[in-house]
Amino acid sequence: MATKTGTHPVFKEPHIQDIFDLMKANALRGRRTIVMIVIRAENETGAETASRLRSLVRSTDVLFETDRPDERGVLLPMSGTDEAKSFLNRLFRMEGEMKAAILEIFHPDVDYQASLRRMQSAIGDAEGRVTVLDSLRQRPDEEVKVSILDPEPLFRDVLGMAIDQLDTPGIQLKIETFGDGRTFLESGWTVSAHPHLVVMNDLLPRQNGLDVLHELRSLPNDGKFTILMMTRRNSEEDMTYAYESGADGFLVKPFNLRLFEAQIKRLLARLWS
């Protein structure tokens, strides 16, 4: 399965394909990316390259062999192109003639073999030391549910329109509005695995915002909820309590709509961090 020299194993085919698929699925489930790096050092053996790499990789990184004896690869989980470039910078500080290609992976249909061929051919054609490959596929659109809870119907519409007009590439927003806490909790709208952004006033009829916050945070999959609270009371105590109860953001009414939009964009951006 793997060549075990030192402490970090170097995986071979076909196992590396399974590991690649597993890491990819794991990363995409958490809305993260992984990076594949292929390094070619024509003046040294694969074992020597692997030995250099071993001194740089983290315990979660995966080393692998390709079908060329002068090549080794690394899979960096939960990382992007920038991390891969830093990794190569550290590697290139050592002596030796090396070339490398980087591919960031964030689409479920990306295949190990096809990626490897593209990277090998890119290394062969490249004049520079590092080639960053285009991912070819767009990041798949993520469906995000948005719930707006406020007792004032017109203000719910204002927030709905503000969110709806946001430029959120790669994210499909599905917006619903609710006038009270209980209707929201009983609507069934919360039941799904989609990321769910809840924009909620602290005071609501029937079941107030803080109650709803507690209920959402006590659900087993509460991590999917990003909760932004709104209040008319500008008190540090209330804010502290809301944050301690699991709110991700806090806005004091009246607030600037641009500030609101910036907060929403920031919270949505965190989904793909």
Binding site: V158, P254, F255, R258
Partner: protein, 325 residues
Amino acid sequence: MTGISVTTVSIGVLLLLLVLVALTVYLFAARAVQERKMEKAKAYLSRNNERWYRVLRGMEDVSAEMVPKNKAELAAVEEIFRAYLTNVSGDKIRERIRAFADGHLAPFYRKKLKSRNWSERMNALYRIEDFGMESLLGDVHTLERKRLTADERFQLLLIDLQFRPDGFIGRNADRLGNLSEYEARQLFFLMPEPVFEEASAQFGQLDPILKYGMVEVLGMRQDLKKLPFLEGLLDSEDPEIRIRVLRAIDAFGIRTPDRILERAFDSPVWEERFLGARMLRRVPADEAARYASRLRDDPSWLVREEVRGLLARQREAAEDLAVLR
């Protein structure tokens, strides 16, 4: 035996029935009118809600269709504006509302200001303040000369404060004394900083109700820069002012300076000693115990109780600490 004839009774019953029928018809008609008005308002909202969003955010200009044609549409526009004004700030939204109200809603409110109906006039005054309609200031001044209720007078003051803050206190000195305590508080709360400064410079000449309101608002604002001003007011001969000043200082949530505590404890007024005792909760335990010993035999039961509670809490805290160690 004198009796009422059957004919008279029948006529009476008939008249009553007629009145009842007339009343029922009136109620149904009024209800129908109200429902029609609500439908018109709803139709306006569904036609223009999104458009208003774009207009108020500066994405497009107002179109003729958005100008209300009747009272129902005016109510819908008021509802939209209120939703923005109470929940959203900045981004020139308030200015856009002001411009539209001045340009297109003024005729409606001008008519309402002349109405004999008190609620219509009040409604107009509220909206003039909410929407900042400067174009109606002349009409508002005309109204000032008429006989008005206290609520209308207060609303006129708020409008004057919004549009002519310079010299507000001097101009309205004789009217401010008639305010209720709640109105005085509201007025000071809405006061821009320069007017507030002007009022505090004339504190000695203000009516007691205004003095109380100002001290209360200073406590709510929790502005530490005002502590020396409040401290100066502890020299006042009016015990009510001294009590409110101590309450305002307590609301600051700071460790009260010793000189203020000393003055509170030496006061012959039990409320001042009580507030001083309450402030001890933010004083280090050993110092608090020293002060508390002075109040242990206070003639007021409430002061003694406050001190007893404080000492008990400190004892519990010390015991908890000992367990942790």
